[in-house]
């Protein structure tokens, strides 16, 4: 399912099955290109989306990605919110920890994504669900 991104300033993408992870990458690419992000910024944002989408599908039991085009005066930005009603994260500090020399990639989704964006917010409650919000400004 594709969302129209031409004139809209917000929308959402379901994250239920593996194929949705690819779809979310493609939506974020369209948005980043639309906002004329630099190539490196595009890559960072799409990669962050990929990590967080996967978390939602694989660990969150499915959910959705909400996107929003932001304007703050002259600045333009893109905000993505990943929501699920999954098991939730018990220890947030632990979830966000990593050594950047770990190298093998396990569990880098949250902490890694944080480094790829300008603003990062994580809300989670055990048994209720998780919401991760990331924002990149142009």
């Amino acid at each position: 399912m594709e969302t129209t991104v031409s004139n809209e300033t917000q929308g959402s993408v379901p994250l239920r099955v593996e194929a949705d992870i690819v779809a979310s990458r493609q939506v974020v690419r369209k948005l980043a290109v639309q906002l004329k992000f630099s190539l490196v910024d595009q890559t960072k944002m799409i990669t962050a989306a990929s990590e967080l989408s996967r978390n939602t599908v694989v660990y969150g039991g499915g959910g959705e990605m909400e996107w929003e085009l932001l304007t703050d005066g002259i600045k333009q930005g893109l905000r993505l919110r990943f929501r699920d009603q999954g098991p939730g994260i018990a220890d947030l500090d632990l979830a966000l920890k990593d050594g950047w020399t770990s190298g093998n990639g396990m569990g880098l989704g949250l902490s890694g994504s944080k480094r790829l964006v300008h603003e990062f917010e994580l809300e989670s409650a055990v048994g209720v669900g998780t919401c991760v919000s990331v924002t990149r400004w142009k």
Partner: protein
């Protein structure tokens, strides 16, 4: 399910990833390569990622896994063509892909594989 084709050139296996892969496609590639290395006795694997605009931690882990598997099966793996933006992002993400050999492009990659297989005699 779409499977990424593996080409064979002498004792080298060549893979060019040109699509935005689903996780299962990446896992299938890993399985297929392991099988092919074993079946053909290949001593080199060249993975061309010059068309990939995104390499996230999942694909990164897959590349590291293939590299490790190859090593156990006595094959050298080289990943070529990583885009600058991808390299910058992987570093920021925290993946150093330490065990994975890389080269700028296919010809450099082939040269690396040749050098690695020098003195490698196949028992027929």
């Amino acid at each position: 399910m779409y499977r990424i084709p593996i080409l064979r050139m002498g004792r080298t296996l060549l893979v060019t990833i040109q699509i935005d892969m689903e996780d299962q496609t990446a896992m299938a590639l890993q399985d297929d390569l392991a099988e092919q290395i074993s079946k053909t006795g290949a001593n080199g694997v060249l993975i061309d990622i010059s068309a990939l605009e995104i390499v996230d931690s999942f694909v990164g882990r897959m590349l590291a896994a293939i590299s490790g598997i190859g090593q156990i099966l006595d094959a050298t793996t080289v990943v070529v063509g990583m885009k600058p933006a991808v390299a910058i992002t992987l570093v920021e993400l925290g993946m150093s892909l330490d065990g994975v050999r890389t080269a700028l492009n296919v010809s450099r990659g082939m040269a690396l594989l040749e050098a690695a297989s020098d003195g490698d005699h196949r028992v027929e």
